[in-house]
């Protein structure tokens, strides 16, 4: 979900003064000089301060998965079973020593590393993992916020021995590993919350991750310190990690420049124009988000394929990118953002051709134009600007667009219940998507209103229950074709994540979803 970012004007101003100020600071030599003279030794306690757009609201992954502090913080406190590699092509075991599917994909066997302990010294056993997975499997209420994370993929969890569980999906599924386990929210909790009530546990939680909680002000600041009993000391490069919620994008950049922050997450996409100091290095990701014009394809006027084609050709993506997104981003080349697995780059080319658009409109049921209502989230300023550009693009075809800006809750309500004609929304990866069956993610995330009326639904159901590769690829192909036809949605622009860190940090790797393994960076 896109956070409302910034006022364009402010950033334009900031871009100017930011660079001016940076050079001033250099001239005056006022920027804190890096102390190269005292070479850091391994014995010196090292700390890192991470600024995110929000603090950790909760250590429960069901709640905090959308928060960037939560996403990077939870795997520090709770050892996750596995996690995607930085290019998202595979996953690696973290707490898991091995993850083995049966030959027919009907059972998945997970073995934990031996001799792991929780922060309080209790051993981590298969009972704890079962407790964690059962909690996920039974938490219907939160399934949607996990963005397709798959509670309904787990039918049963059986304890095999002290360190091993067997997971049974509803039907054989080749994707269960990446779907169910390679997610930061699957951090292992102690069984029965260590004998505490759930409320008390989340007030002062502990896990078996590389760091343990020292202090925490919800949604503001959390301090974690190295856990001495961790299984892989190489993943504990700092003695202390502080996660700070800094809601203002520009304050995060300034915090990096001043040296108050070592690492800043979710920077504005034009951060490179703002950062004025050589002490800050930026990490610019590949596109992992796409903004789309999403519509209901079984009610007028979008039930008419020629009408959809007319809209497809009538939208000027270059204007949209320049006008709504400050030119920061890419023209869409795929429905699935091109950096994510499953994207078939270049499968769709955004063509702007008014003559072609008029031809298609003439063949549609609305040769003289028509009208529809376009919903946007009030305050989502890039998309509100995009809506106006779309409005003027379509006015060329005598298609009158009424823009309605709604508070998020109402917008989401109408969007998910199909009570709309068209919306401006999009797909944004906030966690690593489960492997290449991104379509599943789309479908369960419910992005497409009354999507179940379309033929794609059948494909997705097949994928969900069987996970068979051939079906899956067919579904993606069908999906791409339909997108090219303008079914469901028309992609408008691709966006990407930006993070920044002080130059003295190295090994800072960001994956396309913006996730950084903080504890693996080095100073």
């Amino acid at each position: 979900m896109t956070r409302t970012r910034h006022l364009i004007g402010l950033l334009l101003v900031l871009a100017l003064v930011g660079s001016a100020c940076g050079s001033d600071a250099d001239d005056a030599g006022t920027t804190a000089a890096t102390q190269e003279s005292t070479a850091p030794t391994a014995a010196e306690p090292s700390e890192i301060v991470v600024g995110c757009s929000d603090g950790v609201p909760s250590w429960d992954g069901f709640i905090a998965f959308e928060n960037d502090c939560g996403a990077v913080g939870i795997p520090l406190l709770f050892d996750v079973v596995a996690f995607p590699t930085s290019d998202l092509s595979d996953s690696e075991g973290i707490a898991a020593a091995s993850i083995t599917p049966s030959d027919d994909f009907s059972v998945l066997t997970v073995s934990l590393r031996p001799e792991m302990t929780f922060h309080n010294g209790d051993p981590v056993t298969s009972a704890d993992l079962k407790f964690t997975l059962d909690r996920i499997a039974n938490s219907e209420a939160w399934s949607y916020t996990l963005g397709g994370f798959a509670p309904d993929l787990i039918t049963q969890v059986d304890i095999v021995d002290d360190l091993t569980v067997a997971i049974t999906p509803p039907s054989p599924n080749s994707e269960i590993e990446s779907l169910g386990l390679a997610h930061f929210a699957v951090g292992i909790y102690p069984k029965d919350f260590g004998g505490m009530s759930e409320e008390d546990f989340w007030t002062n939680p502990y896990g078996s991750g590389p760091y343990q909680l020292v202090s925490w002000t919800p949604s503001d600041e959390a301090t974690l310190e190295k856990f001495d009993g961790y299984h892989t000391p190489a993943w504990q490069n700092f003695d202390q990690i502080t996660l700070k919620g800094i809601p203002d994008d520009n304050a995060r950049i300034l915090g990096l420049e001043s040296g108050e922050l070592d690492l800043g997450l979710r920077l504005p996409t034009n951060a490179s124009a703002i950062v004025g100091s050589d002490d800050v290095e930026l990490l610019v990701g590949d596109p992992s988000a796409v903004s789309e014009l999403i519509f209901v394809a079984n009610t007028p006027p979008f039930d008419d394929v020629e009408f959809r084609r007319a809209v497809w050709y009538a939208l000027n993506r270059e204007d949209l990118l320049a006008g709504a997104w400050d030119g920061v981003g890419n023209l869409p080349s795929a429905v699935i953002p091109s950096a994510l697995p499953g994207a078939t780059s270049g499968s769709i080319a955004p063509v702007y051709d008014l003559d072609l658009a008029r031809e298609h409109l003439a063949k549609s049921a609305y040769p003289d134009g028509t009208e529809f209502e376009l919903l946007v989230v009030d305050g989502d300023s890039p998309r509100q600007t995009a809506a106006q550009i779309i409005q003027s693009n379509l006015a060329e075809l005598e298609i009158n667009v009424t823009i309605t800006a709604l508070a998020f809750a109402e917008f989401f309500d109408r969007f998910t219940t199909g009570g709309h004609q068209a919306v401006l929304w999009g797909y944004e990866a906030v966690v690593a998507p489960p492997s290449d069956i991104i379509g599943y993610y789309f479908a369960t995330a419910g992005f497409f209103g009354n999507w179940d009326t379309t033929e794609a639904f059948d494909h997705f159901v097949t994928i969900q229950t069987t996970g068979e590769l051939a079906t899956k690829q067919a579904a993606i192909a069908a999906y791409e074709t339909m997108m090219a036809e303008g079914v469901f949605a028309i992609p408008l622009a691709e966006r990407f994540w930006v993070a920044g860190h002080r130059a003295e940090l190295s090994n800072v790797v960001m994956n396309p979803t913006g996730f950084i393994w903080i504890n693996r960076a080095t100073r």
């Binding site: 100020c21 503001d220 203002d248 001043s258």
Partner: protein, 313 residues
């Protein structure tokens, strides 16, 4: 003695108001369209989960019963529990209230340090260049959005000098003081223009008043005239203005806290609203409302003590 009686009476007078405030805060979740349980759990939650939460939070009881229970809890200091942080709302508020009080207190002090000299100068040099300059600058201060002012202060003051932290509130008193300076200045810049205008016109009115003419006719002049006869009469409307401004200040605090990453009630309000953490939203709303009521009460009492014309019967 009359004074203590007066205070007791005024304090007693706000009890019905507080009940009204509690009712309004309670009503928040009932006037918000849709099922509150659904609102908490989100659109995709299953019916069973929503039903479970409904009965857990006892939303099915008659509204009056719910209100009595809510008000009873509030009076016992129980504002519920944060759904997300899993902590009692009172402990969240206790963590964050001091930051907001710091911000408001320092902001008001700074705004007065700005507005009293400037307002006085503008009034004394009425229609002179100083007056025009002050009016121009204060108009500018009024139009600049606080978050922009905040970022500019960070960019041009905090970053080059290193005197002020960019983020956070620190742990010690001196760190608090350093951390709060720029946020308070930002708040003060948004508050001062109205104060300057009010003070200026109050000053002009007072300077031209019969009482000051009388004092001048007796040979009283200079600082003595200003300090004994002009300022005391001119600050009376300022006290009322400050009380009226408090709502505006709280709004400003929300913005300023977000800009400077201060862990106050305002930034918590933003995240609680975004995270649909209803008990927290209610709790903070209640605290804000009580602050507004309390500050009006304080202003009333202060006025009564300063102005002998106010009947303390």
């Amino acid at each position: 003695m009359a004074r203590y009686g007066f205070i007791a009476k005024r304090v007693a007078g706000i009890v019905p108001l507080l009940l009204g405030v509690i009712f309004a805060v309670f009503a928040l979740q009932h006037v918000t369209p849709g099922d509150p349980a659904r609102l908490i759990l989100g659109a995709r939650a299953s019916e069973e989960a929503v039903e479970e939460l409904r009965s857990e939070l006892r939303f099915d009881d008659p509204v009056v019963t719910q209100f009595v229970r809510y008000a009873g809890n509030v009076f016992q200091g129980d504002l519920g529990r944060s759904l997300r942080a899993s902590k009692p709302v009172t402990s969240i508020i206790a963590d964050r209230l001091p930051v907001t009080l710091w911000l408001l207190g320092a902001g008001v002090v700074l705004s007065l340090l700005i507005s009293i000299p400037l307002g006085t100068l503008a009034a004394m040099r009425q229609a002179g260049w100083a007056d025009h300059a002050i009016r121009g600058v204060s108009l500018l201060g009024l139009t600049l959005p606080p978050f922009w002012v905040g970022i500019m202060l960070l960019l041009f003051l905090a970053l080059p000098t290193g005197w002020f932290p960019i983020t956070g509130f620190g742990d010690t008193f001196s760190e608090h003081l350093r951390s709060i300076t720029l946020p308070a200045l930002t708040l003060a810049i948004s508050l001062a223009p109205i104060q300057i205008r009010s003070l200026r016109s109050a000053m002009i009115e007072v300077v031209e008043s019969d009482a000051v003419t009388t004092a001048r006719s007796l040979g009283i002049k200079g600082w003595r005239l200003v300090s004994r006869h002009v300022i005391p009469n001119a600050v009376l409307p300022m006290i009322t203005l400050l009380a009226v401004e408090v709502g505006y200040m709280l709004f400003g605090a929300v913005v300023v806290e977000a800009t400077f990453s201060l862990p106050g009630l305002g930034s918590e309000m933003i995240t609680a609203v975004a995270g649909r953490d209803f008990a927290v939203v209610q709790g903070i709303t209640l605290v804000f409302a009580v602050m507004v009521v309390a500050i009006h009460l304080l202003a009333d009492i202060a006025l009564a003590f300063i102005d002998p014309r106010v009947e303390m019967a």
